[in-house]
């Protein structure tokens, strides 16, 4: 009994201690900045390794790249300096020279050198990827990597050029050679040369050996964090990661907080609770019911920052299925959907209704298309035009419902994943609007996003939700409409169009289409050209593809996302303003850019 009493007393004291501040390590004048990493959940079992997709390395804090991408609406090659202080590139990006920060040091005091970059690139080859592809025919693959001096490195691009080569190079994750170097075999660079330039069995063998290292690289678990970023991992548990200042960071004077605490979350509700409790200094936007949003806004110091986010949501069609193979049906549906109403219900804070369907987020479309943007059909709500289009498609009116040309009932099934509340709200709004106009529409949910994508790719859905406009690279933007999902794929370096229902072609659109004022075009081939075309040609192609998308409507663009972030200025100030080019980057990068200062009492 005495023992039980002693344990109870100890537990009470311990709890009281935990509730108070005694025993907790105090941060200095800069305090502890508390936030959430929206890109991944914390996994305390994962190694401190940026090559591991769930590794305990957090971009901008203890994870560094050569440079950080700016939120530019059209140019993917705009970057903020990071480990790379500056860079130069030839006009066709065939050669890039990178100059490192002269004062950059790892958290163990050793300098960051070109050799670290070379090893990082070598490790990136084991993982594959655009700039570091082993296939010599791959567009935008690096050809040579040359260390010029301890802070300068020159990289050339292979024969098959890509206009995002610079962007892909600058996104390279940087790791210390003295920690990761042993992962690469001594003859790695000879093997790489053989894999890229060789032929036959030896080349294949070399490729296999290099890709075979992937497992070893992502499973590598350094005993402690060695970071070139402003912070270094101090401790991690399944609920949070604690990072402390890296005293050797090259621009240490810019960093305000002494520590950063990244909280884990398993659902949006936890982020709401943290925000309502005023615990977070910054959080990525999550879908929030308006009542919760009001409570978050009511918290002292709470603010919302908004800016451009190059993503849109659309309603996509499987054109291999009737009646969606008929463009008049797709247009009719576009005329029947009030996008403003859909957005108001589904994404009142995080989206703006799409002005039209161009394939591109409106902000970027205005820059790409100029005055031509206003020339696109806006597909405003117009039941009369919709009726005319449906009649043109041979649809008939039976009582107060539209029927298929053969007289059978027309039932529109709109598919959405159950885990996306905004898409479900949008689907219900669309279903209700269509039903009001005599189109029998229902919403069908898939258990989770993985299942949804799988069934979508298998061509099981007639109509479903689809992310699009993934800028800023125009190639990435139109890949979503005229890429693998619509039948265009690269086979051995050659672009081919596969039949609907095969190789993931679920959109089932035609290989070529007639475009008013342009003639017959192959949208997939044009999209493919976007990856290596000059700036002038890109503009011309984007203009054509926007017109194709607007006329053919493989999708109906519903709303364009708005990057919305919650911040709390009670403890820190100097957050990026609305529309900042740094808005999509982590708070760690904001700190590197001189933002985020401790609020003065």
């Amino acid at each position: 009994m005495k023992r039980l009493a002693a344990i109870a007393a100890l537990a009470s004291i311990a709890t009281a201690t935990a509730c108070g501040s005694t025993g907790q390590e105090n941060a200095g004048q800069g305090g502890i900045y508390t936030t959430i990493d929206g890109s991944k959940q914390i996994n305390a079992s994962a190694p401190i390794n940026p090559f591991n997709p769930v590794g305990s390395v957090f971009d901008g804090y203890n994870g560094m790249a050569l440079a950080w991408p700016k939120n530019d609406p059209i140019d993917p090659n705009q970057f903020y300096p990071a480990i790379a202080r500056s860079w130069t590139s030839s006009p066709d990006q065939s050669e890039v020279v990178i100059h490192l920060q002269p004062n950059a040091r790892w958290s163990d005091g050793k300098p960051v050198t070109s050799e670290d970059i070379r090893v990082s690139i070598g490790l990136a080859y084991t993982q594959g990827g655009t700039a570091y592809a082993l296939d010599p025919k791959a567009a935008g693959a690096a050809a040579t990597i040359q260390v010029v001096d301890p802070t300068t490195i020159r990289i050339t691009q292979g024969a098959n050029k890509s206009n995002t080569f610079l962007s892909n190079l600058l996104s390279t994750v940087v790791v210390p050679a003295h920690v990761y170097g042993s992962l690469l075999p001594r003859d790695f660079w000879q093997k790489l040369k053989l894999a890229q330039d060789g032929k036959g069995k030896p080349a294949e063998q070399a490729k296999t050996e290099i890709t075979g290292l992937a497992d070893k690289v992502i499973g590598f678990a350094p005993r402690q964090d060695v970071s070139a970023g402003p912070f270094v991992l101090e401790r991690i548990n399944p609920g949070a990661a604690l990072l402390k200042r890296n005293p050797y960071f090259y621009d240490s004077k810019l960093i305000g907080p002494d520590k950063v605490e990244l909280l884990n979350y398993t659902g949006n509700q936890q982020i709401w609770n943290y925000l309502i409790a005023g615990k977070l200094d910054n959080a990525p936007f999550t879908s929030v019911p308006s009542a919760v949003l009001d409570r978050i806004r009511a918290v002292k110091g709470s603010q919302v920052i908004k800016g451009f986010s190059p993503v849109s949501t659309s309603l996509a069609f499987n054109q291999a299925r009737k009646p969606y193979d008929n463009v008049h049906v797709r247009r009719a549906l576009a005329y029947l959907i009030d996008r403003a109403q859909v957005t108001k219900i589904a994404a009142p804070e995080g989206g703006t209704p799409s002005l039209t369907t161009s394939g591109i987020h409106a902000e970027a479309a205005k820059v790409w298309l100029g005055s031509a943007f206003s020339g696109l059909d806006p597909y405003r709500l117009d039941p009369a035009k919709a009726a005319a289009e449906l009649k043109a498609a041979g649809m008939t009116r039976r009582g107060n419902k539209w029927a298929l040309p053969d007289g059978k009932p027309w039932k529109v099934e709109i598919h959405v994943p159950a885990s996306f509340s905004d898409w479900i709200s949008a689907a219900k709004s669309i279903s209700s609007q269509l039903t009001d106009h005599g189109v029998d529409a229902t919403v069908v949910t898939a258990a989770d996003y993985t299942l949804y994508l799988s069934e979508l790719a298998a061509g099981k859905y007639d109509v479903g939700f689809w992310l699009m406009g993934l800028g800023p690279s125009p190639y990435n933007i139109y890949q979503r409409l005229y890429g693998q999902a619509n039948g265009w794929q690269m086979f051995g370096g050659r672009l081919e169009h596969v039949a609907p229902g095969t190789e993931g072609n679920w959109m089932g659109g035609p290989e070529t289409v007639d475009v008013a004022g342009v003639g017959r075009v192959d949208p997939g081939a044009l999209t493919s050209r976007l990856s290596f075309a000059s700036a002038g040609e890109q503009k011309q192609i984007v203009g054509t593809l926007a017109k194709v998308s607007n006329e053919q409507l493989p999708v109906i663009q519903l709303w364009d996302y708005v990057n919305t972030q919650f911040v709390n200025t009670s403890r820190y100030t100097g957050f990026p303003p609305d529309d900042s080019e740094a808005l999509r980057l982590s708070s760690g990068v904001w700190m590197q850019l001189g933002m985020i200062r401790k609020r003065q009492a």
Binding site: T15, G23, A46, I236
Partner: protein, 344 residues
Amino acid sequence: MTKAVRDRPRGTALARRVAGHVVRGLVMIWVVATISFVIIREIPGDPVQGMYESLLQKGMSPDQAERATAVLYGFLPTGSLWDQYVGYMWSLLHFDLGRSLSTPGVAVTSLIGSAARWTVLPVLAGTLLSFLLGVIMGVYAAIKRSGKLGDLLALSGSLLHGIPVYVIGLLLTAIFTTLWPILPSGGPVDVAFVPGLNAGYIGSLIHHAVLPVVTYTLASYGGWILAMKSNVVAVLGDDFILAAELRGLKRGIVFRYLARNAILPLFTILALSIGMLFGGSIFIEEIFNYPGLGLLLVNSISTRDYALMGGTFLVITVGIVVANIVADLLYTAIDPRVRSGEAA
């Protein structure tokens, strides 16, 4: 006849009984492992595509998302279903559950081991606490069943038994983390404390476990109190209780007779509940961001992490099978009627 000679048949019977249970348990584990292996691989969905699209949804650029997902391709299970099955069983025999797809490079056993310790604390504490509370209150509710207090206790059991665990969890979260923020809303321990046997760390563990434990206790308390009340009422009508009262035995002794007989069926349920704790409590772990086995299982399903799913199912199966065996043996030990039947 010496005591040793007298006990030999009983000891042999017990050994046979244990051996039978173990063999049946192993067969059950093999059957469940096989069924879950097949079902898991039949679940539709491409984990790599799922991860890529999820990263896009989070605002990552296509190139970044592609890089993050590309590394996973090398870990997708390959080969025919039969080959995979043979490999899986062979690994299982060597206590190797494979490597996780969602946490690349990390062994499934390591992930399960890490999650298990976070499950044991709240679920075991919640189970035992609710059992104790439910049993005591159940006896009280049965004895005072004609009074207002008895009615009130029974009503509390019925109400709590009817409220889903996630509703209780969300209510407690709303009250104690936002309206009256005295408890943490998520995570198992404050990362600011250095792990170890220090007051701050242990205190933080307890502080963070309060809400999950209370939620679990409230959610399962109703079942215990109702079952115990019903058992006590049934035993109260038995002849031996009447006889004991007529013989003028002390109240305490009668109560012991009563409790011992009424609690017997609940021990079996308790043993099974403890076995079930290896499945964690999905809702509680989700609501409180408690990184236990339930959450691990949910995450493994959403990411189609076959190895982790299989491993988690297996741990749950083993837990239940072992609990079944323990419950059966426990029943033998505490119920003389079962013992005498065995001896005969």
